[in-house]
Structures are given as C-alpha cells and as structure tokens.
C-alpha cells in the first residue's frame, strides 16, 4: 500500500469542485500525493555563498509549502562537488558534506510544517556552472556560445564515476535531512543534459556515442540514487522533451523521448517534462508565448512512458492543467514563476479565491537577477525574497494614528499603495480623472506579444482594494482646490508621468501625438510613423503600429532600445523589432519636425532626415503637478511610480507597496 504522509480532504473546497482533476490524489513510486500540484525547484540565490541554508530561504520555502496545500514542494537544486564546478548560482545550496544536513533539515521541516511533501533536488549545473571558480566540467570540451559562461573541460572516465557517486552521497544527505522525494535535474544545459545532448557530448567511450551511450551517466545516477532511496522514497528526474538546439546540432525530439524511456527503465518514478536550454535561440517561457503552448510535449511524453509526467512552462492558471490532467495528457501541474509571483496561488484556487491571485507577467526578471548573481526578486510581488523580513509585511496602525489618505492616480503604483495602506487601517481614497482603474496599464496592455497579461496586475489590485475598503473617486480630477477642500492627512501622488515635448522646432505640430492616445485608439496615425522614445512604451507602440502594417522608425536617447527591459526579455523585443522592419536610431534625438518628417541628430552630431507623417511621443518625464499645492498645505506627501521617475510597471508596484507600508 502506498505511503500517505499527510491527510488532506479537499471535498468541501470550491476550488476542488471547479478544478476536480487538480485536487485528486496520485501515486508516484510508493508515495501518495494528495493533489496534482508542485512547486518546482527554483534557485533563489538567497543562501550563504558557501552553500549553507539561510533563514531567508527557509521562510521563502515555507510560504510556497503553504501554497501547495499538501502537494509537492521542492527546494532548489543542490550542488554536490566540493570543487564547486557544479555550482551555477552564487546562493545555491550545497550538499557535498554532512555539515549541510542541519540546514537542509530546516527546509524539510518547514515544508512538513505546512503538511506538504518535501522535495529535494540534485543539480550539477555543468555547462552553466562554475560560477565561483575559473572553469567547469563537461562531457566534452565544447566552447561556450555566450561569454558570460565559464570554459568547460572534458571529464575523465574516473571523474564521471566520481560525479555519479556525488549524486548518490548527496541523495543520502537529503534523505537524512528528512526529504520525502528526490529529484535529479537534467535540464536547460545542466550537467546531465550536457551528457545527453549530441551538441555537448562528443565522447566515444561508454558515456558518449549514440543516445544510449550519452544517457549512461543519467542511468547510473538514477540507479545509484534509487538504491539509497529504497522503495518508499520516490526518485524523479527533470528532462528536456525538446532541447530546441537544432541550430547547434543538438538532440532530435525523438532522441529526447528515448532519454525518457531510458530514465523510466533505470527506475525513475516520474519525469518532469521541460524544454529548451538557457542558450537556446527559441523563446520558451516569455510573455509572448501563449499559455499552454507546450502541453503537447507533456502529451507526447505520456505516449512514450508509463510513469507520471509533470510540467510547468506557461501554465499560469488552473484551467489548462486541470483540463490536461482530465484528458490524460498531464499528471502533475508544476509551478515556478507563478508561485514566485504569488506563493499561495494554488491555495487561493482551492479556496475559491482565484480573483485574489497575483499573476506572474512572464517578464523573467527573476531569472535575469539569478543569472547576474543577485538575490531573487519578482517584478510584480514586492514581498518576494523578503518573506523572512517582518518589515515587509503590513502592520496595523493604532487607532489614533489612522490617517485619511488621498491617493491621486489609480494606476499600478496608486492601487498598490492604496490597498496596503488600507490594510493597515488607514482610510484611503483613490482619485483618478479616468472612469477606469489601471492608469497607463490600460494602454500598455494593448501592445502585442502578450502584453494583455499586464492587466492581471490591475485586476488583482482592484480586488485587494475592494477587500481593504478603499474608496474610489473615478472620473474626478484632483485639483489644488479639491486638496484644500478635503485636507487629507497624507497625499500620495501616483499620477503617472508627463509626456515630454519634442525638442526643437515643430514640436507643437498637429501630427505629434501621444503614445496613450495611439494605443487607446484616440489618435489618428499615418502610414509612416516615428516613435520618439526607445524604452518599453516606445517599443510597445512601435510594435502595435507595425502590426497594423505601418512603417515605423524608433528614435530614442538611450544607447540601446529597451534599456528599461530586463535582459531575459529584452532579446525578444530586439527580434520583434527586426521582424517587423522597425529601424531603431538609438543614442539620438529629434532636432526638428518639418513638413517631410523629422531630422535626427546622433549623439556625436550627425544629422539625417527620416520621412514620416506622424510622430508618436513616448518619452516621459517626472510629473511635478500638485506637488507644490500639497506642500503648501503642510500635508504629508509621497510621490511614487512614474510620477517620481518614469520607469516600469515593476517600479510602480514596488514603490506603491513600500510607501503603503510607510504611511
């Protein structure tokens, strides 16, 4: 009979009725998992740089364990070699010695404290490892395509056998620490995937050659780990179902499916189905990829093996995985980024509070930070990676300290600030001259390539504001007189930016229009368009117009377009600009607007004309309006979001949250 660690009864919960397939049990190995939910192992760079677990990481994991409501909760992958060649992240947990067991135990205990199943992952980062040393290890010496990664050198046969043993020893430590499931990471360019791939494995010995030979190290690892786990601790593996490396002569999808079969034959109790490598040139998880796009790979995997298949990868809402599980195309719904954005996401789904979910916007800032040796951050969740820090939670104010707060602007900064300060007990009034909530997100979400998902931020904030008792005054423009009449204790200016005037002659012509009017369908735009401003708003409107068949040129002062977009997403925009025939003149300004178009001036003084019939302004400046009026009344004042410094959605949300805690 299969082992059950914790009893869970979901029958009375609305989410179990709405998504019945997500909340039914499944057996992996000899373990019964009460539901189909898994927080998949994700690095967070929160640990000590010597591999010891920190309180920050324990609390980060505890909250995710609460979120999976009895499901699987995996800690980040541990590196296993004292030489640190397998370490891919500066804050990665280690397990190459028994001295790490007490820290690992804290995580297992924290997960168990939430009645969830504690998962532990073995992860030698291989080709993307050696973050703290000069060079790494690999099946073969294949040069790096990206200079950011360290050189890799071929492992000897003896070193491979030692690496296999390191996996086994690290698995033992995980078991001793109290973990219930052991997982082996073989994805995205990490060591096992390096062995599997024809791109990185050129060996001709027992660990190379055809796909069977290239799978040998994986097979030995699974068999070795299975042996120490015994019958009661399931062993799983994460494997690429498609490497997306055809440009560098990587494995075919058929070969990838063979690796799944070898893993099953070696004793794996489940497979987590992934795709793509960090160095793949194809997008996999960014916002421009539709939700559920990759479910066909899980289905294909299930056609090749008989063990449970798990998958994450653009499955941010419960409907698609619920259906896929019901249709027999998937067994377990994995989450990484969606539970970084909202650690309690599945719990809210179960409790019928789906509208309270703060959805990931697939910007990949979290990944960009990890790859640059910075601690985890979420674009949309200001509390992420600060779960252990009490100062990041709203604290109720004493009755005498309750204030009347006027927030000017119902965009992402204003709404975030509104619900946080209202949760603390303040009386909060949000004013906006528009009749709708969302501020500039209303227009920004009109841009192509998935930007409609940005509205999920506003939807979440609206619900939180309503629950916190925030008063809305929509269609009301705040004036000096209104401030004087209301005389609130605190004013928060979240008015958004002002749009810059085009410098030089012609800036006031009729064919100069505003980005918001264009995206909102309120401005007439000709066939040849210059967009002034090469940050995200400029890129968004340029792509929006190019999709309508217009000839678009981007002119901006930043050295490269998308300066404000994180590198893990920016590359997508650069490709889309090229694909849509948009020429970008960066490090440039508009010198004048004339009858034929504009004159561009480069940073070093060259001039050239660009023909156009419409100029769209997306350059922004801080908004100084109302500041003096508020200061003149001696009212406590905060300026947040783009009104303070024009930046991005993330800065607006984080500003709003922090000031909401401070008022």
């Amino acid at each position: 009979m299969a082992k059950l660690l914790f009893e869970w009864d979901y029958s009375s919960y609305p989410g179990a009725k709405a998504y019945p397939h997500l909340f039914k049990p499944i057996q992996i190995g000899n373990l019964t998992v009460p539901n189909r939910i898994k927080y998949a192992a994700t690095e967070d760079n929160l640990n000590d740089h010597n591999g010891f677990i920190t309180d920050a990481d324990v609390e980060y994991m505890r909250l995710r364990a609460e979120g999976v409501v009895g499901g699987l909760c995996f800690m980040q992958g541990v590196y296993m070699d004292p030489a640190r060649k397998g370490q891919g992240y500066v804050g990665q947990a280690a397990a190459w010695d028994d001295k790490y067991i007490p820290g690992l135990k804290k995580i297992a205990d924290a997960i168990h404290g939430e009645k969830a199943i504690a998962g532990y992952q073995l992860m030698d980062c291989g080709r993307v490892g050696a973050v703290e040393v000069e060079s790494g290890h690999a099946p073969s010496t294949v040069p790096q395509r990206l200079r950011v990664f360290k050189p890799m050198f071929e492992m000897t046969n003896a070193e491979i056998k030692e690496m296999v043993q390191q996996h086994v020893d690290a698995a033992k430590r995980g078991i001793e620490a109290g973990f219930d499931v052991i997982e082996i990471s073989g994805i995205v360019g990490y060591l096992i995937s390096n062995f599997l791939s024809s791109y990185t494995n050129r060996r001709t010995d027992e660990y190379g050659g055809d796909i069977r030979g290239r799978s040998q190290s994986m097979i030995e690892i699974i068999q070795g780990v299975k042996e120490v786990c015994g019958p009661d601790i399931p062993v799983g593996i994460r494997l690429c179902s498609d490497e997306l490396l055809s440009d560098v002569r990587g494995n075919t999808p058929e070969e990838s499916m063979q690796t799944y079969q070898f893993a099953e034959e070696a004793g794996a109790d489940y497979i987590s189905c992934t795709l793509g490598w960090q160095e793949s040139i194809f997008p996999v998880i960014s916002r421009d990829i539709p939700q559920g796009n990759w479910l066909f790979l899980a289905k294909r995997a299930k056609e090749h093996v008989n063990i449970p298949i798990q998958m994450a990868y653009r499955l941010f809402t419960p409907d698609k995985p619920n259906k896929a599980i019901g249709d027999g195309e998937l067994d377990i719904w994995e989450m990484c980024r969606s539970m970084i954005a909202d650690p309690l996401m599945p719990k809210k789904v179960l409790e019928g509070r789906e509208d309270e979910v703060r959805h990931c916007v697939a910007c990949n800032l979290c990944l960009a930070r990890l790859f640059r040796d910075a601690p985890m951050t979420c674009y949309i969740n200001p509390r992420c990676a600060h779960e252990h820090d009490e100062t990041f939670y709203p604290k109720s104010v004493e009755e005498d300290d309750r204030k009347e707060v006027m927030i000017v602007g119902a965009g992402p900064a204003g709404l975030e600030c509104a619900y946080v300060s209202a949760q603390r007990g303040h009386e909060v009034h949000v004013y906006d001259k528009r009749d709708e909530l969302g501020g500039t997100i209303l227009e920004a979400s009109q841009a192509p390539y998935g930007d409609e998902e940005l509205m999920t931020c506003t939807n979440y904030q609206k619900v939180m504001c309503e629950q916190a008792g925030v008063h809305f005054h929509l269609g009301t423009e705040v004036t000096e007189e209104l401030i004087q009449d209301e005389l609130p204790d605190t004013v928060v200016l979240a008015t958004g930016p002002v749009y810059a005037k085009v410098p030089g002659p012609g800036g006031d012509r009729d064919n100069v229009v505003n980005v918001l009017d264009v995206l909102g369908g309120k401005a007439e735009v000709g066939e040849k368009v210059v967009v002034w401003g090469n940050r995200k708003p400029g890129i968004g409107v340029a792509l929006f117009l190019a999709k309508q068949g217009k000839k678009v040129t981007l002119v901006g002062k930043d050295k490269s377009a998308g300066f404000d977009v994180n590198p893990s997403f920016k590359w997508r925009y650069m490709i889309y600009l090229r694909q849509n025939g948009i020429m970008a003149y960066n490090d440039c300004n508009i010198e004048e607007i004339n009858d034929d178009g504009i004159t561009v001036k480069t940073y070093d003084g060259y001039h050239f004309p660009v023909a156009c019939d419409t100029i769209v302004v997306s350059e922004r400046e801080a908004n100084e309006s109302l500041k003096k009026a508020v200061q003149g009344e001696g009212i406590e004042l905060f300026v947040i979001g783009d009104a303070l410094v024009p930046r991005n959605l993330s800065s607006a949300v984080h500003d709003g949250y922090r000031i909401g805690l401070r008022i």
Binding site: R145, D247, R249, E592, Y606
Partner: protein
C-alpha cells in the same frame, strides 16, 4: 533647417575611414611594442603569428552567437564566409563571399585591402602580412569547428601582399 546631405556624409565618411586606418596603425604599433618587450632574439614573424592566433581565437568566439545550423550545411558555410569577409570590410577592405565549385565550399575574395600599405610604413615584410591574415582566419575557425562539430579549414590561394592582385581564400569542410 534642411539637412545638408553632402556635408553630413562627407563628415561621416572621413571619420569612418580615419577609424579604419587607426585599426591597422594600432595593430602595427602594438607589434612594435611586442618586439621591444620580446627582445632582439625574437622573430617578428613568430610574434605576428601568435598575435593572429590569439586575435583569431577571440574573434571566433564572438561570431559563435551569430551562426546557426538551422538551414543546413550550405547556408551555414555561406553565412560563415560572409562573416569572414565582413571582418575585412569593417577594416576598410572590399571583400565578399561567393559559392565555390564544390558543395559547401565558399570562396572569400578581397580586392582592396588597407593592411599592406600601412604595413609598409612600419617596415613590415609583405609575406608576414599575408601569412598573418591566413593564420587569423584559421584561428577564427578553431572554436567554430569544435562548437558545431564540423572540421573546417581555410586556405589562402592568392594574396595582395604577394603581388597577386587580390586575396582569395577557400573555406571548406575537411573530409
């Protein structure tokens, strides 16, 4: 004020060609530095070959992200040939890649090269100029060959510094 195209292009043209000439001059200045540091027993050709090897390796690494195998071997070889020719163009040469007679073979032709005339002003033997170019290209291919698991080679058939009127290189896959 309308743009004065002649003035703008003239300024840009002068600055571009000035920068291209500086590339060659900077290389030969560094050659003199290396010779001075290496001492009187050093052979200039050895130093030039080592420099071509180091620089070629590094340039080879930088072109890896710009190559891919998606369109097959012929397209891959032509795109590599164009990158090699393009390097020469950025230095002020006139160079292009064209299909060779055999499958997958690409010819790189350079009909104007700024290097020999600058080399002369520094007293560099013409044969060294030719051999350094060949070594540079061979070294560029080293990482490309390993990365794509294809044995690539390039050979110099003609060289301007040898008085042959043009450079001609044959880029091919070894059997």
């Amino acid at each position: 004020m309308p743009v004065n195209a002649e003035k703008e292009i003239g300024k840009l043209w002068r600055n571009l060609h000035g920068a291209q000439a500086e590339i060659c001059r900077t290389y030969y200045r560094w050659r003199e530095v290396a010779l001075a540091v290496a001492g009187p027993d050093a052979k200039p050709l050895d130093i030039a070959m080592k420099a071509a090897e180091i620089m070629g390796n590094d340039i080879g690494k930088s072109i890896l992200p710009r190559l891919n195998w998606l369109k097959g071997e012929e397209a891959f070889m032509m795109s590599l040939g164009k990158l090699l020719a393009g390097l020469w163009v950025t230095e002020g040469g006139i160079a292009f890649a064209e299909k060779g007679e055999k499958p997958g073979e690409v010819m790189i032709r350079c009909t104007r090269d700024p290097w020999p005339s600058v080399a002369k002003t520094y007293g560099v033997p013409m044969e060294e100029v030719a051999l350094a170019r060949e070594k540079l290209y061979q070294s560029m291919l080293k990482d490309v060959s390993v990365f794509f698991n294809i044995p690539l080679n390039i050979e110099m058939l003609k060289a301007i510094p040898r008085g042959e009127g043009e450079y001609l290189f044959r880029l091919y896959k070894e059997n």
